[in-house]
């Protein structure tokens, strides 16, 4: 053993830790964020090289094979389409959690039967969080990729079943802390946690995905931090804590944006929507408009706010929306985008899709920034968003989404809603917005409808 090498490895870890913190710091603004990625990459490289020269490593064959294979799988996963980012993210939560769970299992196997109590406690925490995040994230990815049914699957007593499973795995873990020689119990913990992960995600529908993905992100981070305690690696503890904190903040943001209490989110009680909504079905008249009429109104406006939702992503309409943005901007119309925190399938999803369509990010505003602007707005154009614009959330105490913060599109002078049909949105809640006198329904596929408006605007040719 060369003492100098040991210290060098420690210094490499120290630098990696600093680089990780800087990486997050630089993520705060789009102007420095790419530097943040570089810092993260460099930190990762330092840490991996530092680990590879560790004298404990006697066999490089498998390590090299793992690194090469992982890179080969990683590249295509880094090249997926932007619309597929939510499922890719869920899948990578699953991979991260898998890694942590496997290492935890290996460490237990090496240490058993004489595992000190504290070690056993963090090991259990590591594998419980890791295993439930692994299957939970796989389920989430499956739902997002639409391999699994998107609709929430609920049954009576679901919460009790889920909660008892969690309690069971923690109780078994507690027993194992006192009796670490009962090796078989470790397998029991693993099995229960894997099952819990599946059952936890079953009742969750697409609209709850932003919260769930953030929560799984947090769990993945915390399990990595627990692994840091097991291996006594400060680098891992810090990286895991940063990831856990980030996921935690995002989950809190998302649950606030959906008016769910955080404990409601923590205990996985998602998708619990009262079924008593469908009763208010009425056939009130709505006003609809053609692309020509919509184009004429938009061209005459001074200020337009576009409100995109997941429907825009489904219809792949973002590039047509960019064309509309260009056509209106050329005519001197002030076009902005108002984005609800839970629009899309993960936090910030809409921003990425619009940025990909080459819409400048200084035109993208989050809910709190833009809500004050609607009263001075000529046209609010809603594309594929529903519940996040529903005024019932503000004034109808009987509405299941009552209290949820919304984009105040109803305060604009004219509201246009592009929608396939009058069918209610994901939550199955009717939207009173559609029956306003100043609301124009634009029925059709978002992509082709926006395309038609753009053609009309171009055909006008007096700019």
């Amino acid at each position: 053993m060369i003492p100098g090498k040991e210290s060098l490895i420690e210094i490499a870890y120290l630098c990696a830790t600093a680089l990780f913190i800087l990486s997050l710091k630089w993520m705060s603004s789009p102007t420095t964020s790419r530097r943040g990625v570089r810092a993260g990459e460099l930190g990762m490289l330092l840490a991996v090289v530092g680990t590879l020269v560790n004298h404990d490593i006697v066999d490089y064959k498998w390590v090299a094979a793992g690194l090469v294979l992982g890179s080969l799988i990683g590249v295509p996963l880094g090249m997926v389409q932007m619309t597929a980012v939510p499922q890719r993210t869920a899948l990578s939560h699953a991979f991260g959690a898998l890694c942590v769970t496997l290492v935890g299992t290996g460490e237990f196997y090496l240490r058993t039967p004489a595992v000190p109590r504290f070690m056993m406690a963090v090991l259990s925490m590591e594998v419980i969080l890791g295993a439930l995040t692994f299957t939970g994230s796989l389920m989430a990815a499956g739902k997002l990729q639409e391999i699994l049914p998107q609709r929430p699957i609920t049954y009576k007593g679901q919460n009790i079943v889920n909660l008892s499973l969690l309690v069971a795995s923690i109780s078994v873990a507690a027993y194992l802390v006192v009796h670490p020689e009962q090796t078989i119990l470790f397998t029991v913990i693993l099995a229960i946690s894997l099952l819990f992960g599946v059952l936890m995600i079953i009742p969750i529908g697409g609209a709850d995905m932003p919260t769930v993905i953030s929560l799984l992100n947090s769990y993945a981070g915390l399990s990595a931090a627990a692994m840091g305690f097991v291996l006594d690696s400060k680098l891992l503890i810090i990286a895991g804590a940063l990831d856990g904190a980030s996921g935690f903040i995002l989950s809190v943001n998302m649950s606030k944006a959906m008016n769910r209490s955080f404990s409601n989110v923590l205990f996985g009680a998602f998708g619990q929507k009262e079924a008593a909504v469908a009763s208010g079905k009425e056939t009130r008249p709505v006003r609809s408009a053609t692309p020509e009429e919509a184009a004429a109104i938009l061209a005459a406006a001074n200020k337009v706010i576009v409100v995109p939702g997941y429907g825009m992503a489904v219809a792949q309409a973002q590039h047509k929306v960019r064309e509309l943005f260009d056509a209106l901007t050329k005519r001197g119309v002030d076009v902005r985008f108002g984005i609800h925190p839970v629009a899309g399938r993960m936090p910030g999803h809409m921003n990425v899709l619009l940025a990909e369509a080459d819409i400048p990010y200084d035109k993208l505003f989050d809910m709190d920034e833009i809500n004050g602007e609607f009263p001075q707005t000529d046209v609010a154009l809603v594309i594929g968003a529903n519940d996040v614009t529903n005024p019932a959330a503000r004034n109808d105490t009987t509405s299941p989404i009552y209290g949820m913060p919304i984009l105040d599109v109803d305060k604009a002078r004219v509201i246009m809603v592009i929608k396939r049909s009058m069918s209610p949105g994901f939550a199955g809640i009717d939207n009173p917005l559609y029956y306003f006198d100043k609301t124009l329904m634009l029925f059709g596929d978002a992509k082709s409808f926006v395309g038609d408006i753009v053609r009309e605007l171009g055909g006008g040719a007096h700019s």
């Binding site: 990625v37 498998w62 793992g66 890179s71 290492v103 090496l110 840091g228 856990g244 993960m346």
Partner: protein
């Protein structure tokens, strides 16, 4: 051992606070790249996996470690790649730079 544990707890607590402070400042605009970045950073768990596979203490643990390396490396490579691809797309208004 006991001292180490306490130090680790302090480190964990401080890192959580730093994480909260840093992430709170991040604009919602970048929340998707943020999540893919922290995901990539989380792949630092590969360090533990490399040790487990490389120490070669038993076939079982070597297999576990190798699979763990694959999983974590996938995250690191894919995570940094897609984060950078996303961030490259964010631009301000005005004339396009070549």
């Amino acid at each position: 051992m006991r001292i180490d544990l306490l130090t680790s707890l302090y480190v964990f607590m401080l890192a959580c606070f730093i994480g909260f402070e840093l992430v709170r400042k991040i604009t919602p605009l970048l929340h998707t790249p943020l999540m893919s970045l922290t995901n990539a950073l989380d792949a630092i768990a590969v360090v533990g996996a490399i040790l487990l596979a490389g120490e070669h203490k038993s076939t079982f643990t070597t297999v576990l470690g190798t699979v763990a390396i694959v999983a974590a490396t996938t995250n690191a490579v894919g995570g940094f790649l897609i984060t950078d691809r996303m961030l490259k797309m964010f631009r301000v208004s005005g004339p396009k730079k070549p």
